[in-house]
């Protein structure tokens, strides 16, 4: 029976049982939901006004940044067109809410409120306001499980935004809030404070989303690889709202495939073209 599962024969049963599980998860989530709505109810008028003003200000600021970003992205697209590469277009996202976390303390997963009925599929990238948070690993009719990038079985292909140095970020074995960069040669230029963005290799995550910030780098002569730790940008354990990337037919992926094929030619990068799938 378990063996069946490994080969995916049980997907339909899983879907059906997922349906049974949904009311359980809904019930288990109720205290949090009630708490949230209570705190929304009990908020005072002045607080609301204050928050409103603050949000308006933020909106203005982000509008202004968006304007800049738009002109930059137009310019970027033009440059990419000059280089004969297909551009990464803007991606549409589907908002979802985290309704439960995995009760298994050793696996870092959470349950979101969107399922196959909403068009969620396995392997879909999930974002948070500050960066990448994970990918969908199991889809049920109304809910789906998302594997977080800090899970020790999950590897995210990243690159340093400063210089394009590539690496693989695996969830740390001993600290569930950190990522370890694997197979980084001591000569590679990665420093503390560097921002890691998704490289788009492995074809799961879209390119150029912030993933993590390097917090420690240790190079010792007796080890063939540098020990580098990074902290995810996404507020992995405190957020409740996430976004699913709708990238079906995304032209950016074609560019990524080409790039990955080119990179596989170079001997150093060949090890980095590994797929970022769970397990």
């Amino acid at each position: 029976m378990i063996a069946d599962n490994r080969f995916g024969y049980m997907d339909h049963a899983r879907q059906a049982l997922g349906l049974i599980a949904t009311p359980f998860h809904w019930l288990a989530d109720t205290p949090v939901r009630v708490g949230n709505s209570l705190s929304e109810l009990l908020v005072s008028r002045t607080d609301l006004l204050e928050e409103n003003a603050r949000l308006r200000e933020e909106l203005l600021l982000s509008r202004q940044r968006l304007l800049l970003a738009e002109s930059l992205s137009v310019e970027n697209n033009r440059l990419l067109a000059l280089q004969n590469a297909s551009a990464l277009l803007e991606q549409e996202v589907l908002p979802a809410e985290i309704i439960n976390v995995s009760p298994n303390p050793y696996s870092r997963r959470f349950l979101i409120s969107k399922g196959s009925r909403d068009g969620v599929f396995v392997g879909q990238a999930v974002l948070e306001a500050n960066g990448l948070i994970g990918q969908v690993v199991q889809v049920m009719p109304f809910t789906s499980w998302v594997l977080i990038i800090t899970d020790s079985s999950h590897v995210t292909p990243v690159e340093v935004s400063r210089n394009g140095e590539r690496a693989l970020a695996r969830g740390s074995q001993d600290d569930d809030t950190e990522l370890d960069l694997e197979f980084v040669l001591p000569t590679q230029d990665i420093e503390v404070g560097d921002t890691l963005i998704s490289s788009g290799m492995g074809l799961v995550y879209p390119k150029n989303y912030p993933v993590a910030e390097v917090i420690s780098v240790r190079r010792s002569p007796d080890q063939s690889y540098a020990t580098i730790k990074a902290r995810p940008m996404a507020r992995v354990s405190s957020t409740r709202h996430v976004m699913l990337v709708l990238d079906a037919g995304n032209p950016g992926y074609a560019a990524v495939v080409e790039e990955a094929a080119a990179a596989a030619g170079a001997d150093e990068e060949s090890s980095l073209a590994a797929v970022d799938s769970p397990n």
């Binding site: 599962n5 049980m10 599980a21 359980f24 288990a28 009760p103 050793y106 199991q138």
Partner: protein
């Protein structure tokens, strides 16, 4: 007849409650100590009403737990079937034990269940603990056994079902 229906609905609702307890969100540190509520309830029913709850029921409950926790199908089913089998073998002795001695047996049964699950997780290369911490729920389960025993016994008696 009505008593039978009521009794079965009590069993079902006890499993629903423990299913909820098994997935209720907890802080990360507390998750390592989350008691195996479902196993406790399975042991209770197997000891007291083996004609109603046996290995088969434990298996089905385990499948539902697997669906709830999003783990590999059959993982908790096998674990709970083992729990039910051990409790079934020991039930006549367990009934005569004091609650604290029962708790020590519960420690062993739940520990064996966790060990089986750990083995299976190793076999299928699933995420699992690398230290002996995976046995911590056995200790909390054993500590909570008296509570489960008194609570469930009290409910059964107050409903006058046996």
């Amino acid at each position: 007849m009505a008593g039978l229906v009521r009794f079965n609905s009590l069993i079902v609702s006890s499993f629903i409650v423990t299913g909820l307890l098994a997935i209720v969100p907890m802080p990360q540190w507390a998750m390592y100590y989350r008691p195996e509520w479902v196993a406790l309830v399975v042991i209770y029913w197997v000891i007291n009403n083996p004609e109603r709850v046996g290995i088969g029921v434990a298996w089905v409950v385990g499948i539902i737990v697997d669906a709830l926790t999003g783990s590999l199908f059959g993982l908790h089913a096998l674990g709970l079937a083992l729990v039910a089998y051990l409790a079934l073998r020991l039930r006549l002795r367990l009934r005569l034990f004091s609650v604290s001695r029962q708790a020590s047996v519960v420690l062993v049964i739940v520990g064996l269940q966790l060990l089986l699950i750990q083995w299976l997780q190793f076999l299928f290369d699933l995420p699992r603990g690398t230290s002996m911490m995976f046995l911590a729920p056995a200790i909390t389960s054993a500590l909570l056994w008296p509570l489960a025993w008194v609570l469930l016994g009290g409910i059964v008696r107050s409903l006058d079902l046996n």
